[in-house]
């Protein structure tokens, strides 16, 4: 009896919310998914192709959101993994003639993972814990260096990159741009999103969020801080690699910009604008920026980057949690992590 009264008088913070009102986050997520599924029915063909590109960029944005929004690792070089995977699958298609989706996508994923493991392992592991400035500078330099190398390397096509990559194939079927590619990308994005969602809401995600908020305290709890960072960095690299290989086959060519500082910072813009630290924020930010950019690109092409910069500055100054925080409460944005050990007991009693 006493135990029951205790449970009702001291409920978990999450429970009150669940009883009182709807949770907003799942509604947003489902709404975005429904819109994404229905979109090709209303869009013209060339817009479906554009939308596919945006979905691929969403996947890329997720990878940055994982490292910055969750683990607090400032990566100004996320395009390295995006671009190397793109170049990798392009070379596989060009030189080995392999275009089967069952081979090239895992290959892209692995390339992204391997490069992220190398770069992240070097920057994040070691005797001295790395400062945030060092990591951001190191990743930025990595991106700049990769861009330069790709531009100067004849085998990779130099300035022009690798043109006319053959389409991806599944058996004898060519997966060309259009609704099929769109739904395939959407499926992959959804799968990766759900995986990330599971990951960041687990106890592992809690440790990551702790890293972001107070790294030292997490270290005192006995976590291998640097190893955690290297793990999430490599995982994010794999996601970026997947996005890069999808992008390469969708566009049909790869070029040095894919590796460079411009794309690296573009993805920073997406995530900060949409709201870092929420997965849906990365998606919303990407879609918002790309949609407005498409809409404005005809008439205001010159001033759009300036507006983008001003928006970013305003968001950083006044809305550090991004667009999503306009409709999402702070409690829900931070979220809850896995199941507390006693939560199950309380539920059954």
């Amino acid at each position: 009896m006493t135990e029951t009264t205790q449970t009702t008088s001291l409920p978990l913070p999450g429970r009150v919310g669940r009883q009182r009102r709807w949770r907003v986050l799942p509604i947003i997520e489902v709404a975005v998914l429904v819109i994404a599924v229905l979109l090709p029915f209303v869009l013209k063909d060339y817009l479906t192709i554009y939308a596919t590109r945006v979905l691929i960029l969403c996947l890329f944005a997720l990878s940055f959101d994982l490292v910055w929004g969750y683990a607090g690792i400032m990566s100004f070089g996320q395009a390295v993994f995006f671009g190397t995977a793109g170049y990798g699958v392009a070379l596989i298609a060009r030189d080995l003639g392999v275009t089967s989706i069952l081979l090239v996508l895992p290959a892209g994923l692995l390339i992204g993972f391997a490069f992220a493991l190398l770069l992240g392992g070097f920057l994040l592991l070691g005797r001295h814990p790395s400062s945030v400035i060092f990591v951001s500078l190191g990743t930025l330099t990595g991106s700049y260096a990769a861009d330069r190398v790709a531009r100067g390397w004849y085998y990779l096509g130099g300035q022009n990159g690798i043109p006319s990559i053959p389409p991806m194939t599944l058996g004898s079927y060519d997966i060309t741009e259009g609704p099929v590619y769109y739904y395939m990308t959407l499926g992959i994005l959804l799968a990766v999103y759900l995986l990330c969602r599971f990951l960041v809401r687990s106890q592992f995600g809690l440790a990551l969020a702790g890293l972001r908020e107070n790294e030292q305290r997490i270290a005192f709890f006995g976590y291998q801080v640097q190893r955690l960072k290297a793990i999430i960095f490599s995982f994010a690299g794999a996601v970026a690699g997947l996005a890069g290989s999808l992008y390469a086959f969708h566009e049909g060519f790869v070029w040095p910009n894919m590796l460079g500082v411009v794309i690296s910072t573009q993805v920073v813009l997406y995530v900060l604008f949409g709201g870092s630290g929420t997965l849906i924020g990365a998606v919303i930010g990407t879609v918002a920026i790309e949609a407005v950019s498409f809409w404005l690109s005809n008439s205001y092409q010159d001033i759009w980057p300036i507006i983008l910069g001003v928006l970013l500055l305003l968001v950083i100054l006044f809305r550090p949690a991004g667009l999503v925080s306009l409709i999402l409460s702070e409690r829900e944005r931070v979220g809850n992590f896995g199941r507390l050990p006693e939560e199950g007991d309380r539920g059954s009693s």
Binding site: I133, L140, T141, Y144, D302, G309, L313, L317
Partner: protein, 285 residues
Amino acid sequence: MDNLFVALFEILSFGAIVVLVVLGLGIIASMMGIFNFAQGEFVLLGAYVTYIVHSAGAPVWIGMAAAPFVVGALGFVLERSIVRRFYAAPIVAMLGTYALGLIIREIVRGLIGGLYLSVPEPLGGSVNIGTMHFSSWRLVIILITALVMIGSYLLLARTAFGLRIRASLENPALARASGISTNAIYGATFAFGAALAGLAGALIVPVFSLFADLGLRFLIQGFVAVMVGGVGSFAGPVAGAGVIGTLAAALPWIIPPVIADVLVFVLAIIFIKFRPQGLISGKGV
């Protein structure tokens, strides 16, 4: 023998350019703890001001003299209105100044288009010693760099104003308690750093010509140099700039330029990894 001297001169003049760019960055990073990602764009602005004055028909050197003041004034305004909000959070400062840099870069891009605009050297010709030719303008850059370096050092180490800056750096709370307005000091320091970048941009525009992404390359180079040299002191960033500038200028004589360019950065990052405090550790001037 003559070739060696010419090579050395090239290396020295490029090293001087890097030092000039890094000095402002280093002062802001060391004295305020802010990694100013807009510094490259301050360089760009300095170059742009010079170009504007030149295209208005005035002599180039007037533009060069005006550039540090214009950019310094803008730096002061930006510090007062925006950058001062970032002091509590260095990472946010990085992103915020990056956004500022983006805005400046895109405005300049909008104004000049995707063009490469050239500005003539105010002092043409070359100094000839025997059979060797040294470009006069590069000599002037070396000279001005040396003067600016000595001047900045004296300002920070020997004047009352420098003392206040150092006091605000070492112990802001105590400095405020002693009646130093740390706010005003930070504003002035930021403006000074920006003015140095503007001067750098003005001086190098005849060598590199003006294009919108001019600053980006110097930004990365500058940051690497500051980290190699060590944040917190005056000598650190200068030493780092010397090393990076020398390497960046010397390596292309030995190995292909593309590899050299990348190799400098890779070597620098590896160096910082194993010696995070940089070449010269410690605070102060």
